[in-house]
């Protein structure tokens, strides 16, 4: 188990592993999402209180769950990156941040859409909403910090520090907002638990479980792909990238584009496979 883990951490073997796994995960995720959405939107009965508005939970709950899960994942990867100086973990931090931010934004938007018919307002300073908003800022901080450095490695390690401090901060924020909220006596805020907990009927539950697991599979598929890009961009000077990543698509494309000849890579070609950070040609290394 451990040696397998160790081998996986080397960029080339990870790349091949991700290449095999990602399509399956993506297919599985989309299938689960499709079935779950169909079940949620057409099969599950309308809520007797909220009517059809409750159906937003089939998007909202998975997005909210993932927004927290991805952050914890990022912090764990950050800790690994800082303690063992593992390149793959550094890539994992910066690859996860934009996906997590998207899920957080999705959770916020769907929450607001649900809030309008239910609470009568798009935004309420509810504890969950507020801490989700702060979480979005944490993600934006990581993304911004990653962009601010010209050197990918320094950027990723700075992001890892931020993710670590942030993960300590998330519960503090959550409790502080909860406490702050309870100070307003008598405000009529419906908590989300009230919707989720009470005797949710199985016809409503199974689509939710499907979209939830589908979202996780979808996240891992996207994350693996982003990780692959990140790894290739970092290792663009290495031999294995030349051999196993760039050769195949290069050959395919150079057949189509008659203008591109010779062994030297065009930078725009490279960014097809890996996001280019410095815009410098690979030969500079």
């Amino acid at each position: 188990m451990w040696t397998w883990f160790h081998r996986l951490a080397s960029p080339p073997s990870f790349y091949r592993f991700a290449d095999r796994l990602a399509p399956w995960l993506l297919g599985l995720g989309l299938l689960l999402l499709a079935v779950g959405c169909y079940g949620g939107l057409f099969i599950a009965p309308a809520d007797y209180q909220q009517g059809d508005a409750f159906r937003v939970i089939y998007v909202h709950v998975p997005a909210a769950a993932l927004s927290l899960f991805v952050y914890v994942l990022m912090a764990v990867a950050g800790a690994i990156a800082l303690v063992w100086r593992m390149k793959l973990a550094e890539c994992a931090v910066v690859a996860a941040a934009p996906i997590g931010a998207s899920f957080t934004a999705l959770a916020l938007v769907t929450g607001m859409l649900w809030g309008k018919p239910t609470w009568g307002a798009y935004w309420v300073w509810d504890a969950r909403l507020t801490s989700e908003l702060v979480l979005l800022f944490l993600y934006l901080g990581v993304i911004g910090l990653n962009q601010a450095y010209s050197d990918a490695r320094t950027a990723a390690r700075a992001c890892a520090w931020l993710a670590l401090v942030g993960v300590v901060n998330v519960p503090i924020v959550h409790y502080s907002v909860q406490w702050w909220n309870s100070l307003h006596q008598g405000s009529t805020i419906l908590s989300l638990e009230a919707v989720r907990d009470p005797k949710i009927s199985s016809s409503m539950l199974w689509p939710l479980l499907l979209t939830l697991s589908g979202s996780f599979a979808f996240f891992f598929a996207v994350w693996l792909r982003r990780l692959q890009n990140e790894v290739v961009a970092r290792e663009r000077g290495a031999n294995w990238v030349r051999d196993c990543v760039l050769q195949a698509p290069l050959a395919a494309v150079s057949n189509e584009q008659s203008g591109m000849t010779g062994p030297e890579l065009d930078p725009s070609m490279q960014s097809r496979q890996g996001r280019q950070r410095h815009g410098e040609p690979r030969g500079a290394d």
């Binding site: 800022f137 901080g141 911004g144 910090l145 601010a148 320094t154 950027a155 700075a158 520090w161 502080s176």
Partner: protein, 225 residues
């Protein structure tokens, strides 16, 4: 152990000496804080009764912004002239030196804010019984503001264009302090118990004082590499 404390003390004294050399720069946060807090009433109607209700938030947000003023330059001079290299190489734990620097910054930035707070509170019509709670809250809360600002400055020290990023980085760390700090004052205003939020603030202060110097030191080491 003694050598460690001596080194930390040397860092502390050096910060104060540098501030004395540039008094205009050192008083900037205080001036900014007073101006900001005293501009708020001008935005309301004269004799507005709502001012009292907003007073805790005004004092705290002003303190927060004043603590952020110029924080991005905190480590830049020391990185640029090579001083931080010497800190890293000294036979003293680096986080301790960073902590000493941040503690000195607290004394320079935040202590004047606390001293000026009663006057501002009076100007904002805050009830006298709430002023003590305000000061206690600021005493516990401002270390959180300064230390998290220092952490953000350490994170961005290697990225010259990151000045705009600092508000985003510190917002999540500062909002609990703001909530409890202003919350304690509001509780005092209506005669509720203030112990809960103050304990929470004190716990956050301890957490920041112990953890953030390590995180800031790690970020600085990373930026220097």
């Amino acid at each position: 152990m003694n050598a460690m404390l001596d080194a930390a003390w040397a860092v502390f004294v050096r910060e104060l000496r540098l501030a004395l050399r540039r008094p205009a720069e050192a008083t900037q946060p205080l001036v900014f804080y007073c101006v900001l807090a005293l501009l708020f009433p001008l935005g309301l109607a004269a004799q507005d009764v709502g001012l009292r209700a907003f007073a805790p938030a005004i004092v705290w947000v002003s303190a927060l912004l004043a603590a952020l003023l110029g924080i991005e330059r905190l480590f830049r001079a020391d990185v640029d002239d090579g001083t931080l290299e010497q800190w890293l190489l000294a036979d003293v734990p680096f986080p301790m030196l960073v902590g000493a620097k941040l503690a000195a910054q607290w004394l320079l930035i935040a202590a004047p804010l606390i001293v000026a707070a009663p006057l501002i509170a009076l100007a904002l019509n805050l009830q006298p019984q709430a002023i003590g709670v305000l000061l206690l809250g600021l005493l516990f809360g401002t270390p959180v503001l300064v230390f998290s600002g220092g952490f953000a400055a350490a994170l961005t020290v290697g990225a010259p264009r990151a000045g705009l990023l600092i508000p985003i980085l510190v917002l999540p760390m500062m909002c609990p302090a703001l909530i409890f700090g202003a919350g304690a004052v509001r509780a005092a205003q209506v005669g509720l118990s203030v112990e809960g939020p103050l304990y929470f603030l004190a716990a956050m202060m301890v957490l920041s004082l112990t953890l953030l110097p390590w995180a800031a030191a790690g970020a600085l080491r990373n930026a220097l590499e």
